[in-house]
């Protein structure tokens, strides 16, 4: 099955969102993300890309439109929202690790509390995940003792421990010192190669070029252009895309 024929894991139809102060932040967004697809969302600040990302796991509400994640529609039903959150993992710009728990406990907390799994089994899986992201020796340290790059890798492992079907990344490397950006991008690349469905909001052009299946440009709350990275970066169609690329290149 080609990419275009695969069923959509994330389906966004005509989504509108207004902030309390009346600002129209999302203006009729349509988007599909297929299984095992890596979609990179780019755009100027204030374009609504982070807001859109956060609607995918219910952290932001929408006033109009329809979002379906893995067959579950996001609505006011708390049970459905919880079900979606179990299938969707999120990695934040500020890592948001729990500082009062060790690295291992950070990973173990959610599967035990939310999925009701047994602590020892989760612990085993957590150690394997930490090894996969290269943090195995730091399992018993506290987040405050780790560098930024290490913390972000722990955050990725923490999301993976819930065995999600989709991973969302909200500018995962923007808060890192330049020398640590690569170690995190490498982990993300590994995940993509492993077939994880990922939606990434980022400014990292090389990552988008190498790993993305599609690049989405957002501006002023709307999707301006959607294209595979080779086409997007070499010959952008929309004048807004050309303006954006000229600004950041």
């Amino acid at each position: 099955m080609t990419l275009a024929e695969r069923p959509a894991l994330i389906s966004v139809r005509d989504v509108h969102k207004w902030y309390a102060n009346g600002h129209h932040v999302l203006r009729g967004v349509d988007l599909d993300v297929a299984q095992a697809e890596v979609v990179v969302i780019m755009g100027p600040s204030g374009s609504g890309k982070s807001t859109l990302l956060r609607t995918f796991n219910g952290l932001e509400e929408i006033q109009q439109g329809r979002i379906v994640i893995d067959g579950i529609e996001l609505s006011d039903d708390l049970r459905q929202i919880d079900a979606v959150r179990r299938e969707v993992g999120m990695v934040f710009q500020q890592f948001n690790l729990f500082p009062h728990l060790t690295v291992l406990d950070n990973l173990v907390l959610a599967p035990v509390l939310v999925r009701g799994r047994h602590k020892d089994a989760v612990r085993q899986q957590a150690l394997e995940l930490l090894e996969r992201v290269g943090i195995h020796e730091q399992a018993h340290k506290f987040p405050g003792q780790l560098s930024g790059g290490q913390q972000q890798r722990v955050a990725i492992a923490r999301s993976l421990c819930m065995e999600p079907r989709i991973l969302l990344f909200d500018e995962p490397t923007s808060a890192l010192d330049p020398e640590m950006v690569q170690e995190v991008l490498q982990v993300m690349q590994g995940l993509a190669r492993g077939g994880m469905t990922m939606v990434v909001v980022t400014h990292e052009l090389r990552f988008a070029r190498q790993v993305a299946d599609r690049v989405v440009l957002m501006a002023d709350g709307m999707v301006v252009e959607v294209a595979p990275p080779e086409q997007f970066f070499t010959s952008p169609q929309h004048p807004r895309s050309q303006q954006f690329l000229s600004q950041i290149s």
């Binding site: 509400e61 329809r66 529609e73 609505s75 006011d76 039903d77 708390l78 049970r79 929202i81």
Partner: protein
């Protein structure tokens, strides 16, 4: 948008339902309390009424700014009590600020002895109950003052067992008199409040001065200024930005602490109210009046301090 969501899972409905239940619970509780109150009060023949305020009080006040005796009505007694409270609070605010600032500044002194004594004072006062300190000042210090005949006489003031006499004290038929007379009860309460709040204000001042970056001191010293000048002209104005909000809390504390005047025999608002309540049994009305008055005093102090805060902030821009 799909099938209707049951109410116990609805993201928007659930919070309102929770509030509704909480509100209902609160309403039921209030209704029960009020019903009981009304029922018990009417049984005792004590339903809410304010007419008793006009009846003669039947007790005397230790001191009063306005003329008062046992034949005057209750409301006058309460007003007199309120004036007494305001008098000691106003004086206390000024006194404790002076003491607190002096001690707070002293804890940065270059003289180690002075510094240590300042910190010792704060540590001693903060960890002792205020009531004990008031009892100490009243029973052990002020009541041990010599009688009129052997009064302590200093230029301009006379201190003895019957009070502090300022502004042209002179003997009249064996008793001291002056234009400004302060009773021993007032003095004891005043001293206790000033010493107590002074310690806390000293901490606020110390925290404020400590919050000014070290670079300011260094730059000023490099310019050739001496420490007292630096403190006065550069550090203190900046420290005030941090100090003034902290002072608000301490001032309100002092106003509330003045209610312990009972221990010193001073006729403040609370002690007058307590006597009134004991005599009339009008619990609800008296309590409402007293709580309302203290809340008003707090609001007044907060309003004043907010104004001062704005003034201190504007000065910096």
């Amino acid at each position: 948008m799909g099938a209707p969501v049951p109410w116990w899972r609805h993201r928007r409905l659930l919070p309102w339902l929770v509030q509704g239940v909480a509100g209902l619970g609160l309403l039921v509780l209030t209704a029960a309390v009020v019903t009981n109150l009304v029922r018990n009060l009417s049984h005792a023949g004590m339903l809410l009424s304010w007419r008793w305020l006009g009846t003669p009080a039947g007790f005397d006040l230790g001191e009063s700014l306005i003329p008062f005796d046992a034949s005057k009505p209750y409301w006058l007694a309460l007003v007199s009590g309120l004036l007494n409270t305001l008098r000691v609070v106003a004086a206390g605010l000024v006194g404790s600020t002076l003491v607190g600032t002096a001690v707070g500044v002293a804890s940065f002194s270059s003289n180690i002895l002075l510094q240590r004594l300042a910190r010792l004072y704060v540590a001693l006062i903060r960890n002792s109950p205020l009531l004990m300190q008031l009892l100490f000042w009243y029973f052990i210090v002020f009541l041990s003052l010599p009688a009129d005949q052997a009064a302590i006489q200093l230029p301009g003031l006379v201190l003895c067992r019957s009070g502090l006499y300022l502004i042209q004290p002179h003997l009249h038929l064996g008793q001291w008199q002056a234009h400004l007379q302060l009773s021993i009860e007032f003095m004891a309460l005043f001293t206790g409040l000033v010493i107590y709040s002074g310690a806390f204000i000293a901490e606020v001042v110390r925290g404020g001065i400590a919050s000014v970056p070290q670079g300011q001191w260094e730059a000023a010293r490099a310019l050739g200024l001496k420490p007292p000048q630096i403190l006065r002209t550069i550090v203190l104005p900046q420290a005030l930005r941090v100090i003034v909000p902290g002072l608000n809390n301490q001032y309100i504390s002092l106003a509330k602490n003045s209610s312990l005047a009972l221990a010193c025999g001073y006729s403040d608002l609370y002690s007058v109210a307590e006597t009134s309540l004991n005599q009339t049994g009008r619990a609800v009305e008296v309590v409402l009046l007293v709580l309302g008055s203290y809340l008003l005093i707090d609001l007044l102090i907060s309003a004043l301090m907010n104004g001062l805060n704005a003034f201190v902030q504007i000065k910096e821009r």
